[in-house]
């Protein structure tokens, strides 16, 4: 066999690579597989949250806001526990971001509320006078794209095995089931139910009316997404 290898430089090179890479492979691959497993307490995104996430991406929130708390005292003081890789298990793509023009948002759901987001997205300077963030008033009139959100969920469930409709372990030992609609109509109905819960804490009458009519403005989906970032 070795004689054969000596005569075939290409396969010899492949063999050398495998031998040299072996130590790296047995150290890196299992560790990586372990770390990328969902952290206990991380749940798949609901339809409305996915729609909010898509609005987040569409409006390039990640250009100014990171979602990655590094293990430094100064960051954990400000934003909470440092991020774990398993917390991004259901993020496709992850939104770590590379530049903080605004603050990190990875755990913004812990210290901001629906009402705060509502007013802040409409007119940031009314809440934080020195803010340089622009307002996003069109989110209050544009409707969220629930169809695409549902499509993304279906893809995640079918091709990536994201555990929709299955019990997911939580930190307190209980389990939670994130439901995935069987049809677009059902997904719409479920998203609307969720939207109603968010809107109950909002004040904008136009948004409330829209949800009562069965529409879901983008801002509602976005707030549902931001509130879940914990």
């Amino acid at each position: 066999m070795f004689h054969w290898l000596e005569k075939h430089p290409f396969f010899f090179a492949v063999g050398v690579f495998v031998v040299i890479a072996f130590a790296g492979l047995i150290e890196i691959v299992p560790n990586f597989a372990q770390a990328s497993r969902p952290v206990i307490g991380t749940t798949p995104y609901s339809t409305l949250e996915i729609a909010g996430r898509q609005a987040y991406i569409k409006n390039s929130c990640n250009a100014c806001h990171s979602q990655l708390i590094r293990p430094f005292k100064s960051e954990t003081d400000r934003y909470g526990h440092y991020s774990l890789s398993g917390e991004y298990a259901y993020d496709r793509p992850f939104l770590w971001g590379s530049k903080r023009t605004g603050p990190d948002l990875h755990r913004v759901g812990n210290y901001r509320t629906t009402e705060w987001h509502e007013n802040h997205m409409k007119d940031p300077q009314a809440i934080v006078p020195t803010s340089i963030m622009p307002g996003y008033p069109w989110m209050f009139t544009t409707n969220a794209d629930i169809d695409t959100a549902y499509a993304e969920q279906l893809t995640a469930a079918q091709f990536f095995g994201v555990p929709y409709n299955k019990p997911v372990p939580m930190k307190d030992g209980s389990t939670t089931v994130v439901k995935l609609g069987n049809s677009i109509a059902e997904a719409h109905a479920m998203a609307l139910e969720e939207a109603k819960a968010v809107v109950a804490n909002m004040k904008d009458q136009d948004v409330k009316d829209a949800v009562a009519r069965g529409e879901i403005p983008e801002i509602v989906a976005l707030i549902a997404y931001l509130n879940r970032l914990k």
Binding site: P71, F72, R78, Y111, R112, T113, E115, I127, N201
Partner: protein, 313 residues
């Protein structure tokens, strides 16, 4: 003398001379700078060693005869002499093996770098420093710390003047309770862990007025709300009577609350504010998230700051 040695000496002198001239032309020359001196000394050593080592091997190639015992193996008719291992090399080889064992078994597992480990050390060092410098501060320094924490953590909702923010419905911290809050709490009851534990207050269907013997009425709610929001000062008002009949059995005749029973609704108190920071609260104007990331001294400081806001009056 061999011709080679002569050439060696000539080249050495030429190179050293070139080095001397080059360095000497620089500002300050050789005497100006210890680094220049070292460079020249290094150059001298290098040139001399190089030339003599080269000469040695050139001589060897010229005069050496192959000799010694041939090994049995023949590699495509190229033979090999049996030589002793050079001592230096052998020692390094063994040393590397010993070091490798140590590194595999102890060196790496014990001393490996961990980002989280560094973070934990950092936090421990910071906490120790914080403890040393701030654990025992009181009075105005505590209020100052509270203000600085407030300006970072609380200002986004409660505002620079701590007067709350109607847009996001954050409470005005310059007064203990607003009329709106009193009305809401009486109408809906409350359970905000203000005492640190679950301690629900009943809604209006559980609030009897001991003086009239009936449930609290809308008019009485308006009266008591005005009285409580006014700081429980106007003791002759109708609200004061309602308070005595309905509220004082738990909140005390002076509104200062009772331990394990009801919170102080007359003034801000430290345990109350710390409990709100720990648990957050939900009330008439919305939800306040828990700010439990602050350490206990910082919570105390925020409480001191909020208390100081109302003491000025």
């Amino acid at each position: 003398m061999n011709k080679l040695y002569l050439w060696g000496i000539i080249i050495a002198i030429a190179m050293l001379g070139a080095t001397y001239v080059t360095v000497g032309y620089q500002k300050g020359g050789l005497n100006g700078d210890i680094v220049n001196m070292l460079a020249v000394a290094g150059a001298v050593a290098l040139v001399i060693i190089t030339i003599f080592v080269v000469i040695k091997y050139v001589r060897q190639m010229q005069v050496d005869q192959a000799s010694g015992e041939l090994a049995d193996e023949s590699w495509d008719n190229i033979g090999e002499y049996k030589n002793e291992l050079p001592m230096g090399w052998a020692l390094m080889f063994l040393g590397t093996m010993v070091w490798g064992m140590w590194y595999f078994l102890a060196g790496y597992p014990v001393n490996a770098y961990s980002q989280i480990g560094e973070y934990n050390e950092d936090v421990a060092a910071h906490d120790a420093k914080f403890e040393k410098e701030y654990a025992s501060i009181t009075g105005s320094r505590l209020v100052e710390m509270g203000e600085s924490v407030y300006l970072v953590e609380c200002v986004a909702c409660h505002g620079l003047n701590a007067d709350g923010n109607n847009e996001v419905d954050a409470a005005d911290l310059n007064a203990r309770v607003s009329e709106k809050t009193v009305k809401y709490v009486v109408n809906h009851g409350s359970n905000n862990k203000l005492l640190g534990t679950e301690m629900p207050m009943p809604d209006r269907n559980g609030l009897f007025n001991a003086e009239t013997g009936a449930l609290i009425t809308d008019k009485e709610i308006d009266e008591v709300a005005a009285f409580v929001a006014g700081g429980l000062k106007d003791t002759n008002s109708a609200g004061a009577k309602v308070f005595a009949g309905v509220c004082s059995s738990c909140h005390g005749p002076d509104g200062k609350g009772m331990e394990y029973v009801a919170p102080d609704i007359a003034t801000w108190s430290q345990p109350l504010i710390v409990n709100v920071l720990n648990n957050g609260k939900v009330g008439t104007i919305g939800k306040m998230p828990a700010m439990d990331r602050l350490n206990s001294k910082q919570k105390e400081a925020v409480a001191a700051y909020v208390i100081s806001l109302t003491q000025g009056e």
